[in-house]
Every structure is written in structure tokens, then in C-alpha cells.
């Protein structure tokens, strides 16, 4: 009679995964981060923007879903601060303001963290603008009509950066770190010709990848935490992306082992059924 492998209870699998995560956190391994062309293209494009260019960062979705994009965004903010670019954050969903603040704080680019950026001169956080597509179009058409103050309630005319931003014509690049990227492609890139970068969540990448083929040289994307780790490598830091890929390296081994184990279990039971 063939050896019969018992079915593993889900709780055992969860316990093993928890142990793997714990090991990855306590004892991270040095992993190589190979570079992808997609990430390198984004990096080079931002590197080639003239000093003082205005970059808009914005979009709409939920913080927890967008967190994956923050790995790339944080590294990108460091790059933009180093290259003396200017950034306006445009939140089109309720939690986007918190997401943008999280990225700014984690990137440590503000002068209160010893960074080179000064609020109002180098970056500005706008308040949440309800209306999704309508808000985006209104913002692109006439910034000062669409929104009167920044997130602190300061009139936009009192902020040096906002005095240089009147409409989409003043924006050199749009970076999206939110799931609602089609909205950005539609109104920002397709209708107004502004290049856009999407630090895509891994699950969203496949859905939105055709935009890169539709608008070559205009739409750029990176892939999830892997893209984040690659971007961090280009900027010369180790952050959330590297940590996530570290844990992933451990986890993928467990994933493969469990799938193989599942198939072996099935094979032993098939033999039993035949008997």
C-alpha cells in the first residue's frame, strides 16, 4: 500500500508562514536586486527633467492599497529633491493627503528632517478635492479656480511654488501612486500630453501595462515592491521595497514547497483511490 501523506491543516501552514516572516524580519539576508528596464526608464526620465520643473503627484484610492507604491515614491522623492525639482501633491481621494504626507515624512526631504526641501517653495500639499475626474479636469484647466488654499488653509497666491503653477501647461510630469491610474492617463497624458509615471501595485500592473504600449515615451510604470526595491537601489537607499523583497524571497520558497507538497499529497491519494 502506498504511503499516504495527510492533508495539512491551514493553521499549520499559517504558523510556518508566520515563522518565515519572523525570521525574515529578525535576520534579513543580503539579496541582490537586479535592475529592470521599466524602473531604469522612469529613473532616467526624472533624472533628465530640468531643474525647477514642477511635478504633480496625485490620484485617488485607499492608503493601504497604495502603500506598495510608497517604496518607489519615497526613493523618487529623494531623487527629485536632489535634482531640485518641485512637487505639488494633488489628492483626489480622502486618504490621499495622509498617503502623501507619509511619503514626504519617510523620504525625509523636508528641511525639518534636515532635507533640502522647504514647504511652499519646493513642495506644496493641496487639500482633498472631491469629484474625482471632474476635480482633476478642473485642476488641470485652472489650478487657482479649482482649489483656493493648500492643506493648511494658506491662500495659494502666498506660496511661491503655486505662483508658478496655473494650469497643466506648467506641469512637466505627473506621478501617480494610486490605483486610479486610468483617470490620470485619460486626462493628463492622453488629452494634455503630459508624461505620466505610475508606481504600480503588483496586482494592478498587468491591467495598466497596455498604456505603456499605447503611449510610448509618455507612460512609464514600475512593478510593485520589486520596482520599489530597484528604485531604492538606483537612489542608493534600502527601504520598504528592499525589506518587502527580502521577506518575499523567503516566502516564495515556502510557496513552492507547499504547492509541491500539495501535489505529492494528491498523487499519494490518487494511488489510494485506484487501489
Amino acid at each position: 500500500m502506498a504511503m499516504r501523506i495527510p492533508e495539512l491543516k491551514s493553521q499549520y501552514i499559517w504558523a510556518i508562514l508566520l515563522a518565515i516572516f519572523t525570521v525574515a524580519i529578525i535576520h534579513p539576508i543580503e539579496i541582490p536586486i537586479p535592475m529592470s528596464k521599466a524602473t531604469l526608464d522612469v529613473y532616467n526620465m526624472i533624472e533628465n527633467l530640468p531643474e525647477g520643473s514642477i511635478v504633480a503627484v496625485g490620484g485617488a484610492y485607499v492608503f493601504a492599497f497604495d502603500l506598495e507604491s510608497s517604496a518607489s515614491m519615497i526613493a523618487c522623492l529623494k531623487q527629485m529633491a536632489r535634482n531640485h525639482l518641485r512637487v505639488v501633491f494633488v489628492p483626489l481621494s480622502v486618504e490621499a493627503v495622509q498617503m502623501h504626507k507619509y511619503c514626504i515624512d519617510m523620504a525625509r526631504v523636508d528641511e525639518k528632517y534636515g532635507g533640502p526641501w522647504k514647504y511652499g517653495r519646493d513642495y506644496v500639499q493641496l487639500p482633498y478635492m472631491p469629484g474625482m475626474d471632474a476635480a482633476l479636469v478642473a485642476f488641470l484647466t485652472d489650478v487657482h479656480s479649482a482649489v483656493a488654499t493648500d492643506v493648511y488653509g494658506t491662500p495659494l497666491d502666498e506660496l511661491p511654488l503655486m505662483r508658478d503653477l496655473h494650469s497643466y501647461k506648467d506641469i512637466s510630469l505627473w506621478i501617480c501612486i494610486h490605483w486610479a491610474f486610468p483617470m490620470i492617463v485619460r486626462y493628463v497624458t492622453s488629452e494634455r500630453g503630459i508624461p505620466s509615471v505610475y508606481f504600480a501595485q503588483a496586482a494592478a500592473y498587468a491591467s495598466y501595462a497596455p498604456y505603456m504600449a499605447m503611449y510610448p515615451g509618455k507612460v512609464f510604470m514600475t512593478l510593485g515592491f520589486l520596482g520599489g526595491a530597484q528604485y531604492e537601489k538606483l537612489v542608493g537607499i534600502k527601504g520598504l521595497g528592499y525589506a518587502a523583497m527580502n521577506a518575499y524571497s523567503f516566502l516564495v520558497i515556502a510557496f513552492v514547497i507547499f504547492v509541491i507538497l500539495g501535489n505529492i499529497t494528491m498523487l499519494t491519494r490518487l494511488g489510494e483511490e485506484e487501489e
Binding site: 495539512l8 491551514s10 501552514i13 499559517w14 508562514l17 508566520l18 541582490p32 536586486i33 537586479p34 529592470s36 521599466a38 492608503f63 493601504a64 492599497f65 502603500l67 493627503v97 495622509q98 504626507k101 507619509y102 515624512d105 487639500p127 478635492m129 472631491p130 469629484g131 474625482m132 475626474d133 471632474a134 476635480a135 479636469v137 478642473a138 484647466t141 485652472d142 479656480s145 479649482a146 492643506v151 493648511y152 488629452e191 500592473y205 498587468a206 491591467s207 501595462a209 497596455p210 504600449a213 512593478l223 520589486l226 526595491a229 523583497m245 518575499y248 524571497s249 516566502l251 516564495v252 510557496f255 513552492v256 507547499f258 504547492v259 507538497l261 500539495g262 501535489n263 499529497t265 494528491m266
Partner: protein
């Protein structure tokens, strides 16, 4: 025709048409006047969206207060939510949405919990894969092999050792996975257009309550 019927049948549809035109007008009509009208309508749209936040708040409270008064199922959660909403509103107005303390409180509560919920999916996903990726048929074999291939090739250790792994991942994502996703989106888009037309023509039962009058 009574006022209620008039509002339900026509006014809502007219308002929807005006809203749709606000998006299309400046795209199809190249004139400064059209741009001014379109921009004005976009700002109206934003203002209405802002107002709907207050409407949402009132709706939630009317529902929750009724539930609490009548001790309906889950009334405790409604009470908890009703208190929490007020606390967060006062907190936000007092310290500001962009303050460090608000950010800290938000990250330590809502965001951490939400991320934890999403993080749990990894546990469920792998235990599900253990049971589902059993290659009994050709279909499950293809499905399991593709998933395994992407998962393995995506690991930095693998793609650093075998540079072709990176190309394999992006080929899978850019072509087969993308095609499937786009097919779903296009189907949804066509369905959305058809649904929109049906709603405007009053054919969709219950939509805008037009057929209920």
C-alpha cells in the same frame, strides 16, 4: 404630472446629461466660451461632490441613530462608529489634517489595521494554493505552472542568477495577463455604456427610481 414624477422622470436625467456634457464640451468644442462653461461646470461638480460628503454624513447618522434607538442588530457597532466619527471630526478640525499628531493617530489605527487585514491575505493565499494548485487536469496544470513561474522569477535571487527570469515575468504580465485584464475592463466598459443608456432612457428598472413612479 405631479412634481414628484417630474423630478424623478426628467429633472434627474437632465442633471445627469448636463454633468456628462461638462466633461465632453471642452473636448469637442474648441472655443474659449466653451472652455469657460466647461470649467464652471467642473467647479460646480466639485462643489456638489463636497456637499455630498455632508449628505453622506447625515445619511449615516440618521441610519445609525435609528438603529441605536431601536436596538437593532449590531447597534453597538453603530454606536461605536457614531462616536468615532465625531471624535475624528473634532480632532481633525482642532489639530489639522496635515499635522504630525493627526497623521500618527491615523497611521496607528485605521491604516495599520487595514494593512494588517490585507497582509492576512498572504496566509490565506498560500494555504489556498496548497489545496488548489493540484495538477489534476491540463487547465489546473497550466494555471499552477504560470503562477509558480511568475512567483519564482519575481524573486530577486532568481532574477539575479538568471537574467532571463526578469524578461519572463514581464512577458507574462505584459501579454497574457494584460490581455485578460483588458478584456475584462473592455467588457465592463461596454456594459457601463449600455447601462448608462438604459438608465437615461428609463429602461432600467429601479434606476433613478424612474420606473417606480
Amino acid at each position: 404630472m405631479s412634481a414628484v414624477v417630474y423630478i424623478r422622470l426628467y429633472l434627474t436625467r437632465i442633471l445627469i446629461l448636463i454633468g456628462m456634457l461638462s466633461v465632453l464640451i471642452s473636448w469637442y468644442f474648441v472655443s474659449p466660451e466653451a472652455d469657460v462653461i466647461a470649467n464652471e461646470l467642473q467647479i460646480w461638480n466639485m462643489n456638489i461632490a463636497t456637499f455630498t460628503l455632508f449628505v453622506g454624513l447625515l445619511s449615516v447618522y440618521s441610519r445609525y441613530i435609528r438603529s441605536i434607538m431601536n436596538r437593532e442588530k449590531y447597534w453597538q457597532y453603530h454606536l461605536y462608529a457614531a462616536i468615532l466619527i465625531v471624535v475624528w471630526i473634532i480632532f481633525g478640525l482642532k489639530v489639522g489634517l496635515y499635522s504630525d499628531i493627526y497623521q500618527k493617530a491615523y497611521l496607528c489605527t485605521k491604516i495599520t489595521l487595514h494593512i494588517a487585514i490585507l497582509g492576512q491575505l498572504v496566509f490565506f493565499m498560500i494555504s489556498a494554493c496548497y489545496r488548489l494548485f493540484r495538477m489534476r487536469t491540463l487547465r489546473t496544470a497550466i494555471f499552477a505552472c504560470c503562477t509558480l513561474l511568475i512567483a519564482i522569477c519575481n524573486a530577486p535571487i532568481v532574477s539575479a542568477t538568471f537574467p532571463a527570469a526578469d524578461k519572463i515575468v514581464f512577458w507574462f504580465l505584459n501579454y497574457p495577463a494584460s490581455a485578460g485584464s483588458r478584456a475584462l475592463l473592455i467588457t465592463g466598459g461596454v456594459g457601463g455604456v449600455v447601462l448608462g443608456i438604459r438608465i437615461l432612457l428609463g429602461l432600467e428598472k429601479g434606476a433613478l427610481r424612474a420606473t417606480e413612479v
